[in-house]
Chain length 153, copies 2
DNA sequence: TCAATATAGATGTAATTGCATCTATGTCCC
DNA sequence: GGGACATAGATGCAATTACATCTATATTGA
């Protein structure tokens, strides 16, 4: 592929390597994410976003959190999360319960079925992470990568 | 935050560090991506996806590519790209031209206005990359990060 | 040459997202 | 106590996405 020169005037401060790191961060995340989503879907699993929510609930005391707390932990936008919880509830993976301390809120509680589903998803999910990420890095590289990415969050 | 122990049975092969690298890859990409999108939007710019397409066209010979070639380079799904091109065309940033070699296809050509818009977006975009990524890494770290991410694509 | 199949790209549709707004309850302060 | 403002969460709606399919043109092979 003949790479022509082309004029991209860069903002004074931005270095080539930073731009390259960004492009690769985008590409690798997107590509691996999509691969993993496909792997999950191929096994009849729900999308990864559901996993994130169920994991937070599974870890939480009594398997329950308030929507705003899930939001804080997962960074999903509030209206989207609200509807996602509705979908999870429709599938019987969580249920809502009254929250007496604050009449505006309620608990979201993971069900037994939800816990089982999460565990089942992890089988696929973990294997997919290994396949798409683990297999391409040594443990040392993975650790180093994790350290570098930690600086970004 | 008291981190309780919880039983997550891992698929035999997946190491802790790989999982951590994956979680951070997701989080950092998503958070920075959203920040950059907000920065662009705050300046009245179209979404980043438009930039990707216009950049490919801007770089291409005669500022033109076939949809399937854009698809190959950007990895957008075909129906989504098809509609994105329609939107770009509606905004006067690209136009379609006949492609005589193959009656099924056509050229997508970037307009002068499209080139200007792309350049204008880059001012914001580049600064945003610097702000959200560059400012948090030394050049050495950025280079190292880029190298590690290269192994994933 | 022509039927069978493959490919480029568009389109219908249902699901999902983003954004603004709405409702209901809580908090603050006079 | 009660008005003004803040917060939790839901909902309406327009835009976007994913997925399946459709149309038109190419290619292939008998």
């Amino acid at each position: 592929m003949s790479r022509r020169s082309f004029t991209t005037r860069k903002p004074a401060l931005l270095s080539e390597v930073v731009e390259l790191a960004w492009v690769r961060l985008m590409r690798s995340q997107r590509r691996i994410f999509e691969s993993i989503e496909r792997d999950l879907q191929a096994e009849g699993c729900p999308p990864l976003a559901w996993y994130d929510v169920m994991l937070e609930l599974d870890r939480a005391e009594d398997g329950r959190l308030r929507p705003m707390e899930i939001e804080r932990r997962t960074l999903f936008a509030q209206p989207n999360l609200s509807r996602m919880i509705a979908r999870l509830e429709r599938e019987g993976l969580v249920r809502r319960e009254a929250f007496s301390d604050d009449g505006r809120g309620h608990w979201v509680v993971i069900t037994e079925q939800g816990r089982r589903k999460r565990a089942a998803m992890w089988e696929i999910y973990g294997a997919a992470i290994e396949k798409h990420l683990g297999a391409r890095l040594t443990d040392g590289e993975a650790e180093h990568l994790a350290d570098l990415l930690a600086k970004l969050v």
